[in-house]
């Protein structure tokens, strides 16, 4: 029982090194890794030049000293060897969260350390992603189960069509429509940002301000997610309802209520949880653009900034961190799954 679970977790844990290896290969083969390191090395060299210039006054001696230091610095960064010698180091470096520095983008406190910049944004992203996810999972599943009990009715059909539309809506576009409607035309909600400018000083009004700013992104994410929940819950319940044992249970004369609770919903629970797993990964990725639209200071809008300003270090780090969060969520859900389904005995 423990062994297969162990294998599942192991393959999940392998994802992180696999991503790192892929990134290292791509960065090495395209020469981008060289470019990043050369720019760092040149930066260090500039500083060295300044200090050397104050110590050595003879121009030719200065030149040789600089050349000497340059070789030293390049060998420290491993630039004297081809990229694949450095690959291992790079993987270790990123795996141990030594993520390097940015060129332009700064953290809210002004730091240029990539790890600091990302760390202060993780809570914002989690706040934005999880609340709509949990809300739509619960409400969507309830609606789906409810309409599945009377399939084929007008209400069922209408809800199903609406949920298909919801499923095909890109979150960022819904965000744009809501901002134009409620932010620009009706001016009920702020168009962008997490707090008013300037932000309120005391904690309570800060929280209220945050809630006010998060209503539009929250609504957006619920609109695009809930349809998938409704539809999949409905399909799962409908699929189970046509199993023979359900027919037998009905034939036995069990009350419909018990048939639904014990014979249908109990069995439907694990696949619905599977959907949470898949939903989480989808919404994490989707939040990249949603955050950009709403000017939410999370990892997603940071990703957008990193692309726009060509911050390679930040981009690598963010991809890695996204993978880690993703894996972590999957592991947690794997364990929940184990607890939920009595049949799953690995």
């Amino acid at each position: 029982m423990i062994k297969p679970l162990f294998y599942r977790l192991l393959s999940l844990l392998l994802v992180a090194p696999a991503i790192l290896l892929l990134m290292a290969l791509v960065l090495g083969l395209t020469g981008i890794s060289d470019r990043i390191l050369v720019s760092i090395a040149e930066q260090t060299l500039q500083e060295v030049k300044k200090t050397l210039a104050t110590q050595i006054h003879d121009p030719s001696a200065l030149e040789t000293a600089i050349q000497l230091r340059k070789q030293e610095i390049y060998s420290i960064y491993g630039l004297d060897k081809p990229w694949f010698y450095r690959m291992f180091q790079m993987i270790i470096r990123i795996a141990t969260f030594d993520l390097g520095r940015t060129r332009v983008i700064k953290s809210f406190t002004g730091s240029q350390e990539v790890s600091e910049i990302i760390l202060e944004r993780i809570p914002n992203t989690i706040l934005l992603v999880t609340i709509p996810l949990i809300f739509s999972a619960i409400v969507g599943t309830l609606i789906g189960v409810k309409i599945a009990s009377k399939p084929g009715t007008l209400l069922d059909r209408l809800t199903s069509y609406l949920s298909i539309i919801s499923y095909s809506l890109p979150s960022w576009w819904v965000g744009i429509v809501l901002i134009i409607l409620f932010g620009f035309h009706l001016k009920i909600f702020p168009v962008s940002g997490m707090y008013s400018i300037p932000p309120p000083s005391d904690t309570l009004s800060r929280i209220l301000d945050l809630i006010w700013h998060s209503i539009l992104p929250f609504t957006t994410l619920v609109i695009v997610q809930i349809g998938g929940w409704i539809y999949s819950a409905r399909m799962i319940v409908l699929n189970i309802a046509q199993e023979d044992y359900v027919t037998v249970a009905r034939a036995k004369g069990l009350p419909e209520d018990i048939v639904r609770r014990r014979y249908i919903l109990r069995v439907a629970a694990p696949p619905i949880v599977t959907n949470i797993v898949l939903g989480l990964s989808g919404s994490l990725g989707g939040a990249i653009i949603t955050e950009t639209i709403f000017g939410w200071h999370g990892m997603g809008s940071l990703y957008y900034q990193a692309i726009m300003t060509l911050e390679e270090n930040l981009l690598i780090a963010l991809t890695y961190i996204y993978t880690l969060i993703h894996i972590l969520a999957r592991i947690i859900l794997e364990i929940i799954y184990l607890a939920l389904d009595p049949r799953v005995r690995y």
């Binding site: 791509v26 059909r157 576009w173 134009i180 620009f184 699929n239």
Partner: protein, 483 residues
């Protein structure tokens, strides 16, 4: 054949299938008509070429918004003249006068006034001269501007041709000579004292189509009535010619879907998005389905180490967050060109495992069935069995999955384009949305720029979803109640 007929009959009974197929037909017809009418290099030569759109109003909403207002909004007007209205011939002189009349009855000023001169041919060494005049309803006749066409160079032989490749454009509403001449005439007639410094505050188009309503003030009112515009071309020989003169009055609305910040006709771009999206969607889904199905069948049928390698790598890839990975790879390889192919390849590389993992148990189940055993006992090879026995049995399921993959590919491309990673040679709906967003369309209320591309993305995605949903009861006959 009877099987296909049966299938079509069965499928047509399902409502969502019917709607989906109708939508798809419309999408296909639009795509085919776009492909057959648009030039191949539409993206680079037309769409992303600002000079092509120089004579369109910028950020103009669609024409039909005028139904919702009582005010008459100036429409975009292009007046083309191929023949001079009046012609005067003298000794070694040809004076061609092009005149347009327009009854200006709008409640707003136009956004600009352009004059275009196309293809001037002359023989004399003395270069031709052009003058632009304007006659207004208040009986002001203003000589706006004049200029001399570039004369022949030392090595040039007659006939001398000018403005053949692209026309000569006089932007009257930005031309300081015209503005100065107008100010002079207006100040004289209305005893106002406007200076050149006031123009940017007033708006140059008001000088052309308005009058100072209070003496000494800067307020302008629209002057409605009959306007005449003259272009006079003096050619100093008797055989020279001009191909065409255009007078363009920039509207405050444009076309069925408006224009963007560089004056592009959004309808043209949105129409082009149909074949572009379908191509990306179909290509990506075909590739993913092919790789996913082949690996799934191999994994399920051959088993052993092959199975383990495929399933483990599939598991790892499936657990990677798709969008961040897509962004990363597209970003890294963005300089290599052919970006839309790159997007498709990356999308394929990271989404095949979904299908592989679903197909594997189905193949394993089939492998232990009697007809496969029979085939093996007849001496059929593994490849033969996989091709002739397993694949046909999975075909319908695989087709359904491939249709389901189309909208995800379209949505993924739109998302990447929205992050500025799209292919500039292939304009898509996502790119139009991105340009709108980056130009602040949502904070400035340019809804016509960002709402339609999204609607089209959603409609396309829904089309394929409806077909997938319609296929469900055919694949799973026990499932009776679908929508």
């Amino acid at each position: 054949m009877s099987f296909i007929k049966e299938f079509i009959k069965k499928a047509w009974k399902i409502r969502s299938m019917r709607i989906g197929v109708i939508f798809l037909t419309i999408l296909m017809i639009l795509s085919i008509s776009v492909i057959s009418t648009y030039p191949m290099d539409f993206g680079t030569r037309i769409w992303n070429n600002p000079s092509y759109w120089a004579d369109n109003p910028r950020l103009a909403p669609p024409i039909w918004i005028s139904f919702f207002t009582t005010a008459k909004i100036p429409a975009h007007t292009v007046l083309k003249l191929n023949q001079p209205t009046n012609m005067l011939e003298g000794e070694n002189l040809l004076l061609m006068e092009y005149v347009v009349e327009m009854d200006y009855d709008y409640d707003d000023y136009p956004s600009f006034l352009h004059v275009l001169i196309r293809n001037v041919t002359f023989y004399s060494t003395k270069p031709p001269k052009v003058e632009i005049w304007m006659g207004r309803p208040d009986n002001l006749i203003v000589r706006l501007t004049s200029f001399t066409i570039r004369g022949p160079s030392a090595i040039e032989e007659p006939p001398y041709r000018r403005y053949v490749e692209s026309p000569y454009r006089i932007i009257l509403t930005e031309d300081s000579t015209s503005i100065l001449n107008l100010i002079y005439s207006l100040n004289n007639k209305y005893s106002s004292n406007i200076t050149l410094d006031d123009v940017s505050a007033i708006g140059p188009e008001k000088l052309f189509f308005g009058y100072p309503s209070k003496p000494g003030g800067r307020e302008f009112s629209i002057l409605k009535g009959l306007y005449r515009l003259y272009a006079r071309i003096y050619i100093y020989d008797r055989v020279g010619s001009v191909e065409e003169i255009n007078f363009i009055l920039g509207g405050k609305t444009y076309g069925l879907l408006g224009t963007d910040i560089i004056g592009r006709d959004l309808m043209m771009g949105l129409l082009y998005g149909f074949p572009a999206s379908l191509m990306i969607g179909f290509l990506a889904s075909t590739l993913v389905t092919f790789i996913g199905a082949v690996l799934g069948i191999l994994s399920g049928y051959i088993g052993g180490r092959t199975d383990m390698v495929i399933q483990r790598s599939g598991d790892i890839i499936l657990n990677m967050p798709l969008l961040p990975i897509l962004i990363f790879f597209t970003f890294i390889f963005r300089e290599f060109g052919m970006r839309f192919l790159l997007i498709i390849l990356v999308l394929t590389a990271f989404s095949w495992p979904g299908l592989t993992i679903i197909i594997r148990p189905m193949v394993m189940q089939m492998k232990s069935s009697q007809f496969i055993e029979a085939a093996i006992s007849c001496g059929a090879s593994k490849i033969w069995i996989m091709r002739k026995h397993i694949l046909p049995n999975l075909a319908l399921f695989i087709i359904a999955q491939s249709i389901f993959l189309v909208p995800s590919a379209i949505l993924a491309e739109a998302a990447l384009s929205f992050l500025g990673l799209g292919d500039p040679t292939l304009p898509t709906w996502g790119q139009i949305l991105e340009q709108g967003f980056r130009s602040g369309a949502i904070y400035l209320g340019y809804w016509w720029w960002v709402i339609p591309p999204g609607i089209l993305i959603v409609l396309t995605a829904i089309t394929f979803l409806l077909i997938t949903i319609g296929l469900e009861p055919i694949l799973n006959p026990k499932l009776k109640s679908v929508i």
